[in-house]
């Protein structure tokens, strides 16, 4: 499937379901990382993974009916979540790296 602007728009729309909560958690993790440094990384990483998992389960049950919109647009549930989670984790790790360099 060739990536088009409309695909990015659809993925962004789906990401918005978890964006606020996820960015808040990432912000909290970065703040902790800033204060305690690299030794806190593994605790922060697992905190992010666990909260992200809870967020995914919550959104999955609340937005169950909307999956048909994305499926009709050509995105299966697994593809949607895979892309969104890789993006969110990449965003989190990039923020950690930038914080580490700025510190």
């Amino acid at each position: 499937m060739m990536i088009q602007l409309k695909h990015i728009r659809i993925l962004w729309m789906f990401y918005k379901n978890i964006a606020l909560l996820s960015i808040l958690i990432t912000g909290f993790c970065i703040r902790t990382f800033w204060h305690f440094g690299f030794e806190s990384f593994f605790s922060i990483f697992w905190a992010k993974v666990i909260t992200l998992t809870i967020t995914v389960l919550l959104v999955d049950s609340l937005k169950k009916k909307e999956y048909f919109y994305y499926q009709n647009a050509g995105f299966s549930k697994s593809i949607l979540w895979s892309i969104i989670l890789v993006f969110d984790i990449a965003l989190f790790l990039s923020a950690i790296v930038i914080t580490h360099k700025l510190k």
Binding site: K6, R9, I10, M13, K16, K63, K65, E66, Y67, F68, Y69, Q71, N72, A73, G74, S76
Partner: protein
């Protein structure tokens, strides 16, 4: 160009209960095919299986090519579920951009939406949302559309408009429709299948539908 959708060899069980066992269904471009049956016989399940949203033993073919998870190629089959499914935060404009649909054509067909194309879905009534959903899927690029209870929530006038839309659209698409308002299905369909005891029965006359116990004449 004409296309053919064929479905058979579907076996679906829930626990020990056989839901679908002896299914044959076919639909061509330029045809509207009705699918009727009592509550709980598996009409929605069958549509979800064809669409690929439910996995089971099945054989779905388009132009004799075996298709699994049809929705992954959205130019093949689209599916309208029984419930409203478009995210409430989207406007008609956003939706039509996602599915590459001409907004002006829609406004000509349904002028009651004029100047409301930027409103989000949560600002529309259930019936209006249903019309937007039907139009979106019917006008999408898919070769076939499966419509599960499209007339639910619609007023009689809206139903007539939707029937007109479906009859006009079938020239370049195959449509499979199920609804309990069977008379509307019979009005627009080229032929009908009755789903009963896990099997499909092809019916071309209302008397055949009655003989299968779905309606009384």
């Amino acid at each position: 160009m004409s296309h053919t959708l064929e479905v058979d060899s579907i076996h679906f069980e829930l626990g020990s209960k056989k839901i679908l066992s002896n299914i044959f269904l076919s639909c061509k471009t330029n045809q509207i095919v009705g699918l009727l049956g009592k509550n709980g016989v598996g009409k929605s399940t069958l549509m979800k299986i064809i669409f690929g949203a439910i996995q089971c033993d099945q054989s779905v073919r388009i132009d004799r090519v075996f298709i699994k998870n049809a929705f992954k190629r959205h130019t093949l089959i689209s599916y309208l579920p029984q419930h409203n499914f478009i995210p409430k935060s989207l406007s008609i404009k956003n939706i039509f951009a996602d599915f590459e649909i001409d907004l002006n054509e829609f406004l000509q067909f349904f002028p009651e939406f004029m100047n409301r194309e930027k409103l989000t879905m949560n600002r529309f009534s259930g019936g209006e949302r249903r019309i937007i959903e039907i139009y979106t899927l019917v006008k999408s690029r898919s070769k076939f559309s499966l419509l599960d209870e499209p007339f639910t929530l619609l007023s009689p006038l809206q139903i007539e408009n939707v029937k007109l839309l479906l009859s006009q659209t079938k020239s370049n698409k195959g449509l499979i429709i199920t609804d309990h308002l069977h008379q509307h299905i019979l009005d627009i369909s080229d032929y009908t299948y009755i789903l009963r005891n896990g099997q499909t029965y092809l019916c071309k006359e209302t008397s055949e539908i009655a003989s299968l116990g779905y309606v009384r004449i």
